[in-house]
Structure formats: structure tokens, C-alpha cells
């Protein structure tokens, strides 16, 4: 009650809930593309993850005897949606469920709940899954409408019962092996071809890679990461709404672009071109929606630039030299570790000093 006398007596009207809902709204185009590409399966996964995360959060709050109406701030729902959008469409339901519990319990509540988690919960959960189930997490379901797949028609994912079977009982229920319905992502393909001594340009040629398809999203990948266009729409909305600032997305993507361009200029046969790096994998999703997670990113503008640049360098390095084809999520998690340090050393200039 002592707070009552303290100014300011006005407020801009922003709230945690409004921010979380804005991010969910901004992810809707990408979710729409996911449904367009992966049909019912995408819908099942998104709904399951969102519900599971909210239920887990509710359970945690209940266990810790905290007010359960915190669930209404939308952060758990957002974590669920983000996690779903980073999953390959062919993961079994129980795997997604494990991811949700890991995200809420291991990556968020054990640290003290919203605001205290050092890592982005959705990303941390995805890493848990990737390390525990590497096969499933790198097998990309063949999407609908992908031009290079017109010759080999994939499963009809718009058919409810096919997806239902696939979702609950796995590909075996349809009498198929996992590898019969999945394919490599462009990044994965380049990495495998490299290991066989084939340069990036050649690899992309024999993959039938097209920039336009990558931009629109008609390629293999996680549910929500394929369409740069849909993600950009959401990202611009968040920028305009001032939920996120330009510092992290711009510095992140620009760093990847510049690094890729430099190496590509030196050896165009071996190193993949910059635009490919920008459109491939989870970069746009990561730069606009993961790295900008307020809790686990720096608070100061200069710190955010450093953070973005660090993410960019790590992403490109992991993709090019690392063991995994994709480096976005590792780089963000690694930079998350550096946030306290960045915040300490990159404070704004104090007036008059």
C-alpha cells in the first residue's frame, strides 16, 4: 500500500500479456504456412504443444503454490507455439510432449519462472530433443506443394485419417518406414554433400534448390521455419508494435550474410552463397522470434547488437565447420550464456559522464 504515493501516476498501457499475445499473433502467418505445407499434422502438433505447455505451467504453479492466474500471461502458450514451430512435422506425439515438459519445467520453472530463465525455453527444449532423439529430429517430412517433389507425390497430409494415424502411431501404422516419407533439408543436404567432397553450389544444383521456393517456404524443414516471407511479415509487425527492436534481428542476419558473402567471394564453389544462408534453416525464425526473447537477451541496445553479431558468427561457423547442419539454436543458446556479461559491459552512456 505504500506504493500508492509513488509517481508516475500514468502508464503506457503495455503488459506482459499484450506482448506475448502480439508474438503469438505475429507467428500466425508462419503457423498458417505450416498448415499449408504439413496439413493436419501441423495443426495437431501446434495444438498439442500449446496445451501441454500451458498444462505443465499450471501444474508447476500449483505445485509451487503460486497464483495460477499467471498462466494468463500467455508466456506458456507462446513457448508451446514456438516449440511446435521448430519441430519436424514427423515427430511422434510423445516426443513433442517431452519437449513441452522440458521447456516449462527444466528451462523455465526450475530457474524461478518467467523472467528468470537464462535460456529461451522453447530452444532449450528443442536441444534436449535433438540430443535425445537425433534421428527423428533431423528427418524432415516431405511437405505438400514442394515443386521438386511433384514427381514423387508425398503423403496426402490434408487427409485427416492419414495424419491421425501418423501422429499417434508413427509411419509404421501406414506401412512405411520413416525414411520413406522424409527427406533432407537444404542445409542437411549441403552438409552431406560436403562430406562427400562436393561443393555447395553443386550440392544445391543437384537438390533443385530455388531461392523463390525458400523465400515462400516450399521446402523441407521444421514446421514454422520454412517461409521467410511469413516470418518477415510477423517480424515487421513486432517491430512496428515495438515489442522487439531491430537491433538483434538485423545484426544477427546481417552478420551471417556478411560472413557468408566474404567466404563465398573467396571460394564460391565450396562455400554456400549468402542468400542461401539467410533463407535456409531457422535463421529468420531464430533472429526475429527466438533471439529477441526478452528474458534471455540483453537489455541494452548496444548489448543487443553485440548479442546479434555473436549469434551470427556462431551460426555461420557451426553451419560451415560444425558437426550439425544447422547452428541457429546452438548459437542463440550459447549467446544466452553470455548475456549477463554483455549486460554488464555494454551499458548505455550515463548522462554527463
Amino acid at each position: 500500500m505504500t506504493l500508492l504515493i509513488s509517481s508516475p501516476h500514468a502508464h503506457g498501457g503495455d503488459s506482459i500479456r499484450a506482448n506475448m499475445l502480439a508474438v503469438i499473433l505475429a507467428l500466425l502467418p508462419a503457423a498458417g504456412v505450416a498448415v499449408y505445407l504439413f496439413g493436419w499434422l501441423a495443426l495437431f502438433l501446434i495444438v498439442l504443444c500449446m496445451l501441454a505447455c500451458m498444462a505443465t505451467e499450471w501444474g508447476c504453479l500449483k505445485l509451487m503454490k503460486r497464483p495460477t492466474d499467471r498462466i494468463g500471461d500467455g508466456s506458456a502458450a507462446l513457448t508451446g507455439l514456438l516449440l511446435a514451430l521448430t519441430l519436424p512435422a514427423a515427430v511422434p506425439w510423445w516426443m513433442a510432449l517431452i519437449g513441452c515438459v522440458a521447456a516449462i519445467v527444466l528451462a523455465k520453472q526450475v530457474y524461478g519462472g518467467l523472467g528468470h530463465n537464462p535460456f529461451n525455453p522453447a530452444l532449450a527444449a528443442r536441444v534436449v530433443l535433438l540430443i535425445s532423439f537425433p534421428l527423428h529430429m533431423t528427418s524432415w517430412l516431405m511437405p505438400m506443394h514442394a515443386p521438386m517433389l511433384i514427381a514423387i507425390p508425398p503423403l496426402n497430409l490434408y487427409d485427416f485419417s492419414t495424419c491421425w494415424q501418423l501422429f499417434w502411431f508413427g509411419p509404421e501404422a501406414l506401412g512405411k518406414g520413416l525414411d520413406a516419407i522424409t527427406m533432407a533439408s537444404p542445409l542437411g543436404h549441403v552438409k552431406t554433400e560436403w562430406s562427400r567432397g562436393i561443393g555447395a553450389i553443386e550440392a544445391l544444383r543437384n537438390y533443385d534448390y530455388s531461392y523463390l521456393d525458400a523465400f515462400l517456404g516450399r521446402e523441407a524443414g521444421s514446421l514454422g521455419e520454412t517461409s521467410a516471407l511469413a516470418l518477415l511479415l510477423g517480424g515487421i509487425y513486432l517491430l512496428a508494435r515495438h515489442t522487439i527492436t531491430w537491433h538483434i534481428p538485423l545484426s544477427f542476419i546481417a552478420t551471417v550474410y556478411v560472413l557468408a558473402a566474404l567466404f563465398n567471394a573467396v571460394n564460391p564453389e565450396h562455400f554456400a552463397p549468402p542468400l542461401f544462408h539467410v533463407l535456409a534453416g531457422g535463421l529468420v525464425l531464430g533472429a526475429f522470434f527466438m533471439a529477441t526473447d526478452p528474458v534471455s537477451s540483453p537489455v541494452t541496445p548496444r548489448g543487443q547488437l553485440i548479442f546479434g553479431i555473436g549469434c551470427g558468427i556462431l551460426t555461420w561457423s557451426i553451419r560451415t565447420f560444425g558437426g550439425y547442419p544447422e547452428g541457429v539454436m546452438f548459437s542463440i543458446l550459447l549467446m544466452n550464456c553470455a548475456v549477463p556479461l554483455i549486460d554488464h559491459y555494454f551499458r548505455p552512456r550515463v548522462y554527463g559522464k
Partner: protein, 529 residues
Amino acid sequence: MLPALFERFGLNQLWPTGGFPGGVHPPEHKITADSPIIELPLPPQLILPLKQHIGEICAPLVEVGQHVLRGQKIAKSQGYVSASVHAPTSGTVVGVQDHAVPHPSGMGRPCLMIEPDGEDRPDESRAPISDYRNEDPALIRERIRMSGIVGLGGAVFPTFIKMLRDQRHPVQTVILNGAECEPYLTCDHRLMLEHAHDVLRGMDVIMHAVNAQNGVVAIEDNKPDAIAVMRGAIEAAGMDNVEVRTLPTRYPQGGEKQLIQTITGKQVPEGRLPLHVGVLCQNVGTAKAIHDAVCLGVPLIKRVVTISGDAVPNPANVCVRIGTPIPFVLAQCGLEDLNDVRLIHGGPMMGERLPRTHVPLVKSTNGILAFHRQSLYSEQAVEEPCIRCGHCVEVCPAGLVPNELAWHCRNDQFDRGQDYNLFDCIECGCCSYVCPSHIPLVHYFRYAKGQVAKIEKERAFAELSKARSEARDNRLAREQAERAARRSKVRKQHAPAADKAAKTAEKKTDEGKTGEGKTEAVKKEGDKA
């Protein structure tokens, strides 16, 4: 255009573009911008706090039952940083007692009560200085000091002190602060519209008193009429060394340091005064008061106040005698029932909530806002955990990291708080305004500042008492030694063989001497303190 774009995307945090970094745009709610200033009638009783400024409290000069004239000095300043109080009207002194004043603590402070006789007879002992341009600046400063003038923008620092001349740091530019960036408040705006001439003359007095070469009238671009009127008045007066500068509307544009940065492009270095960058800032209302004091011989006995807020039926700008009870003023604006109404003294961003309603209007009152309980944000806010969104960092005009700072303040880690520049916070409230988690950041900063001050006071006190007790110990030791020496002398005379005792005594005397030195050092310290 470019600065606005820079600001929109937070670029001014990275590369300052002339304006100050950060800031917010709260809805303006300047509902009284078009209401002319109305003179309010005299209340049945006036309550004049003896301390309405930063500095020492005043000593009353009158007794209960004494009759006073309008403008008569009724309490004189004690000490250097102080400002005297004058009778706002003629009448009888009916009491000298503690009464609630506009302060968030709601505590009573010594006040003089005056019952107006309704005749409003002036004290004419102070002659106007109409030809101030040919007067000695020191005389003008003295007049300002005697007139009890303090900064009317809310800082209430005695004005004459700001106008002292320093040979090493001559003032080049006088900035007249007409930004009025707080929402709701329009008193300075109306003053510029209705008394442009007086305000400008007041500014001219200041410029003469500090020997400044030029003047800048700073007005936010949401007051185009005031800008036009002031430009016209400057032209009419032929003041070609004064210009009007249009500032972007952005809170806290009217903060002294922020204003200086916007106008001069320079920041006032830490621990320095505006003087050190060659600038003197005065508020529009202060300039008008200076005009009245110098050119009319009238001390500070009334001021313009904005009465607004959603609970006020007839919001207005009113000219009120200082000491008028606030409920009386509100009643004149149609607000009688103060139950379930929350009063803010000042603007919504920096104003203080009044825990008690029956308080007088004082020199620092630039606005009284009355809100229904439901519509006051600070009443409803529920604090949630910080999500580290960084919005507070973006908007902080002082360049602080409010979320970290609040964290340390809340956990009573004041050293860490000072490491995060606690004392550079100007309490503008921008950070709390944007915080999505509704964290009362400014509250934590105020709390920490108060605690640090308290701790420092206690430390000083402890050191003083330690010094005192040491001095006492030394004195006792010395006295004992002296006594012993005397005794041994006597013994020597009587029994020359007892030289063993004498040796000990001598040793003690030496000790006593060193002790004496110490005592003296401590004494000197004490004198300094």
C-alpha cells in the same frame, strides 16, 4: 524529421542526435489549454508553510493576533539556501502551528495561519525598479532574494542562488523553460499566451542580472499558439538577442538537463551545474514572478495553477494566492466531494500523491490533478516479474539500466545500486511508464536514495561519536597522567629514593602528550563538521 526517425528506432541511444536520449510520449490531456487564467477569490483562511523551498526552514516574524498587509514579509529566511514567505493578502495572523502540507508523507509542518480581512491592502514599502537595465545586478538579485522567489517549475530551489555570478563561468545563454512536457499541465502555456510581455521582461531582468548575451525561449511544438505569441512579443519588444526554439514534444523535454542538451547539444557534466556549460535555465512562471518582484515590487504571493483530471467538473487554469487550501480551490472548479478522489500535486509523471486533502497550495504547486480512484494507474498496478524487455533502458533519459538498478535497490544492495548510478536518476518516471510488468521502478529508486542518505547520516553520526569518545578517553588518560606526575613530584621532594615511581609517571606523561595531540586533531575535525 531525421531526429524523429532516429528516435523512433532507438538510434539516438547509439548515436545521440542533439536531443536527449530516451523519453516517452504520454497522451497529453491538455484539456485546459484553451481556458484563460481565472483569478480566484480569497479563501476564509490561508495556510502558509514556513518551508516551501529547498533549504532551511523560515522563522516567523509575526505574532498571533498581529495584522499584516499584502506582500508584507511574515517569515524570514534563515541560512543561505532559503526563501522568505510573504503575506498573500491583508489580514490577521490567527495561528502558528503544525498543519499538513503537500508532501507524500502527510506529516504536519509549521505553518502560519492568516485570516484575510477582505480589504487586500498592499504593503507599499518596496518600490518597483522600473529602470532595471541601469541597476546594479547585485541589487536586482537582492530584490529577487527578498521577494521569496523559488523555481516555480517544481524544483523550488531559491532563484537568487542560481543567478549568482561566477567570474570563471560566465552565463552566455538564459534558457526560458516553456516546454511544459508534463501531461495535463497548462499553466506555463497560458502564462505565455496571456502575459507574454511580462514573461519576456522577466527574462530580460534575468539576462541583465547574470549579464547573459542571448536568450532562448524553449517551447514544445504542441503549443504553436504560444510559439507565435512569444515570437510576436519578442519582435514587438525588439529583443533581437532572444529567439524562440521549437522543441519536439517528448517527455521529459522540460527537465533541466534534458532541455540543455536539446538546446545546446551539450550535456551538463556529472557533478556540475548548468552554469558550467554557460547556461541558466528558468521556468516561465519564475520569469513572471521575477518581473512582478522587480518591475512591480510585488513579492511571490500568488501563482498560476492548472486544476485538471477526470474528477474535476470544470478544469481550469487559476491564479491563486499561495496558502489557499486545496479543497477550496477544487470547490471553485466544481469538485466538492473529495471522497474516492485521488489528488496529485503536480503532473501525472512526477507529481506526488497527496495522502491528505486539507493542505495548502504552495509555491511549488504547478498543478492539482484530481482523479477518480478507478482511473489512477498507480492505484491499480500489480507488479509482475521483470521480463527484461529493455524498454526501460530505451526510454531512460539519464542513460541508466533501470531494471538492474531496481533489482539492487529492492534487495538493499545500495553499493551495487550506486555502481549502477542510482544518484543520476532524475525520477522522471519514463521507465515505470513503459514497463510491461508494471514494476514501480521509481519507487524503488526513491526508497534506495532515502536509505543511502539515512545510512550516510548514521555513519557520520557514528564517526562523530567515536571521535568524541576517543577524545574523552584521551582526556581522561592525560588527566590521570598529570595527576600522577604531580604526585610523583611531591613524592620526590619528600622521598628522593622513589625514582622508580617517577619513571612510570614520566612514561605516562608521554602517552598523555600523544593523546593530547590526537584530541586536538579530533577537535579540529569537529570544528570543520
